[in-house]
Symmetry: C2
Subunit: 462 residues, 2 copies
């Protein structure tokens, strides 16, 4: 151990490139922000929202009656919490719903595996389809394959997605889910199964949306859990032809979704509002506890804390977006409807792990405010991040279009163990982690709100 330390010190002293300048001091944070932040570490509301929504509604698949029950639940909850202007902004959308699913190796080693259809998968007949499996280690392998190797077959695509803290593996390694079905169909495959875009070894497949490219014939598309994907790889490796029967029944239609909106009115209603939120809908196999009951709960609990403290200068608008999972329908509907400027927007949609970094994109002229946000959060163990970048799911297109935004990055090290699986349930939410989130969001809102003043004395009730 000592030798290692010595080596590091020697390296440091002889390698000036490694030496870092002392970070610039952060601005002071007002006692009001500090007090609100620290009190939020004892928050009970966020957990209560996650518990209530997941218990009393359960899964909330976009565009279905389950999501509608979720909206009813949200409206009742937000009203009971005392928010103003509680309302639904509805929109219509295409729906896709899961039916019976099964997968079985018929030869050379007969056995059942586990599968879940990907969103927008074509439906098989109820008896399924049967074909020979052709396997690829990654999407590039499928892309490079001649059509003749794929035509009439069931494609299997694996990948090597690693566990990361910031979720950065999901973009590249999500390719087999997002592009795989379209590529396989173009080459004449009769179906595709992929290694789940996940990091856990449980028999719970990861679903998720995919959209067939324009002009491509939809084919059945499913995900195998990692143990099953590796089992199939082992079977393929034996070199004998592998025959699979795949049942992926699903239905498409039209349905209604909506964004649930609630506000903490600002003292100056002419000022642009601060938008915070998450999404109400979930995939259909778990109860959507971390994706994204936690998100709406964190944003709502933080806004409620500001409301309890008094009147912020700026209006805080809480949005529980509908239909995020099938393709940001809620975010796009909000964007089309709300062309007014926003002071800032932030969305919580990466589980319930602790906030470990703050990024923001408020513009050069608001750098002091951005750095005050960093200062307000660093006592929670939050790394000051970028000042010119922020991301979010439903709010992504609005950020791209120029809306100022803050991104409180959650630790996603374990997120893809649960993401889009039956395992996304309440027991995965850690109360203390959730409270740290609420504290960070409360501090953020306290800074952005422009100062909170006491409520004017209420006239006595008659």
């Amino acid at each position: 151990m000592k030798r290692t330390i010595l080596a590091v010190l020697l390296l440091a002293s002889t390698a000036p490139a490694l030496a870092q300048p002392a970070p610039a001091p952060l601005p002071a944070v007002s006692p009001q922000v500090v007090a609100l932040r620290d009190a939020a570490l004892h928050d009970e509301l966020a957990y209560g929202i996650v518990e209530g929504l997941t218990t009393e509604v359960g899964q909330r698949l976009a565009g279905t009656e389950a999501e509608a029950r979720g909206r009813d639940w949200a409206i009742a909850k937000l009203k009971s919490l005392g928010f103003a202007n509680v309302r639904v902004e509805p929109f219509d959308m295409p729906t896709w719903t899961r039916g019976p699913e099964a997968v079985e190796i018929l030869a050379p080693f007969p056995q059942k595996l586990v599968v879940a259809a990907l969103g927008n998968s074509a439906s098989t007949p109820s008896g399924g389809i049967t074909g020979e499996v052709v396997g690829f280690d990654d999407l590039a392998g499928l892309e490079a394959a001649p059509d003749a190797a794929v035509r009439g077959k069931i494609v299997f695509v694996s990948h090597a997605m690693p566990r990361t803290q910031d979720g950065s593996g999901y973009g590249f390694f999500g390719g087999p889910r997002r592009q795989g079905p379209s590529i396989a169909s173009k080459k004449g495959a009769i179906a595709i199964v992929i290694r789940s875009i996940g990091t856990d070894y449980h028999r719970n497949p990861h679903t998720g949306v995919q959209v067939f490219a324009a002009g491509v014939k939809p084919i059945p598309a499913g995900a195998l859990p990692l143990p099953d994907a590796e089992q199939l790889q082992r079977i393929l490796k034996r070199g004998k032809p592998v025959t699979m029967r795949l049942i992926l029944v699903s239905q498409t239609g039209r349905g209604q979704s909506g964004n649930v909106i609630a506000e903490v009115p600002g003292r100056d209603p002419r000022l642009p509002p601060i938008l915070v939120g998450g999404h109400l809908d979930s995939w259909d196999q778990g109860t959507g506890a971390i994706d994204d009951a936690a998100g709406v709960a964190i944003a709502t609990a933080a806004a409620k804390r500001i409301m309890e403290a008094g009147r912020p200068l700026r209006t805080i608008r809480v949005v529980w977006f509908g239909a995020e999972e099938p393709g940001l329908f809620g975010g796009r509907s909000y964007q089309a409807r709300h062309t007014e400027p926003h002071y800032a927007m932030a969305e919580s949609d990466f589980g319930s792990g602790r906030i470990w970094r703050i990024n923001s994109k408020l513009g050069k002229e608001r750098e002091v405010e951005a750095r005050t946000l960093q200062a307000a959060l660093e006592p929670l163990g939050v790394v000051p991040g970028k000042l010119d970048a922020a991301d979010g799911s439903d709010i992504g297109p609005m950020i791209e279009a120029g809306a100022p935004a803050v991104e409180l990055s959650q630790d996603g090290t374990h997120y893809f163990d649960l993401h889009h699986t039956p395992d996304d349930t309440l027991d995965k939410v850690d109360l203390e982690d959730l409270r740290q989130n609420v504290a960070a969001w409360t501090a953020m809102l306290a800074v952005l709100s422009g100062g909170i003043e006491p409520q004017p004395k209420q006239p006595k009730r008659r």
Copy 2:
């Protein structure tokens, strides 16, 4: 930290009750045993058996064609490894096989849960049965309930099984599975669902056998995963009547199973053999990697190492028991057929975790041998345990009847995360842990075998 250490030292010096006598020195271990043990830490065979059996056969439900394919696989493998007297000792048995399963809360909060039937569950009609749920925190609660509180209802029983290293929670806390269905039926329940007898929070229910008491009418009996059991508890706690639809279709019949037996012949065939083994059958949802492909693989790999080293004095008999899961059918068949004395017996059937303790029951007159076994294993991190106790699953009745036995206790801290679930798959087997098992079993066999001598020169093949 220093203060804590000081306090402990002071406590030790003033509390003679805490002082332990130095343990008696263990006997010397022969260099042959040491060499065989340490070489086994590089074993490849055990993992190869687990990989092959779980990949090429998959699940091996007792009495079904899948278990028969498992026997064929075992026979071919044991012959190819060079064992002698490779054979099946078949037996007939009742079978129970799983059909479609589903569970749904209809009111007050409509949602699907996950369920698996327990072994010997009665079948529901294909459309299921519907009833009001009455919940109990433990088996005692159900036992204490008046019949009127249960009659015509679906019983739910929870429990508080903790995680333990030695599996000691499984006896008491397994009550809801073993006795719950009979008690519920006697009180007039139409069905029962229990909190899985497990320790993990994945949506994978733990099945397992239960047998209805004599004269009790079989009812549908299932297990909910822990997240679902706690969800149901939360729903019940809301105080509104809870209606459940339960589909647990299953079939009963008759089938054939068998014990697969292979031997390393001893130099003196008149001496009683050493029996080592595990069980070939598995539950039907995973691939039975830790329960119990690992067990047969460990015993077989250890026996193969003795065979490669030369000729043991005593015959080593490797048994891959059939039909352990539904009630030790293989063990009982073996016991009925093999009334000859055994020198010792040992079974590996608690996963693939490292051996942490050795217990034995070889009789007072073989204490030096028992302590030599302890000495041979302690360098592997194995605690010398009892000299008057040993256990095993299939061999349990024979130990009870007086057969000498050794128990190499595996670390079961994580066993009940996987036990009888779809998650019992190859990826859960750690190669280094498995090798430590093989080393311990090899050392045990090297001691018990009575010494291994070189093979006599083979006459040249003509």
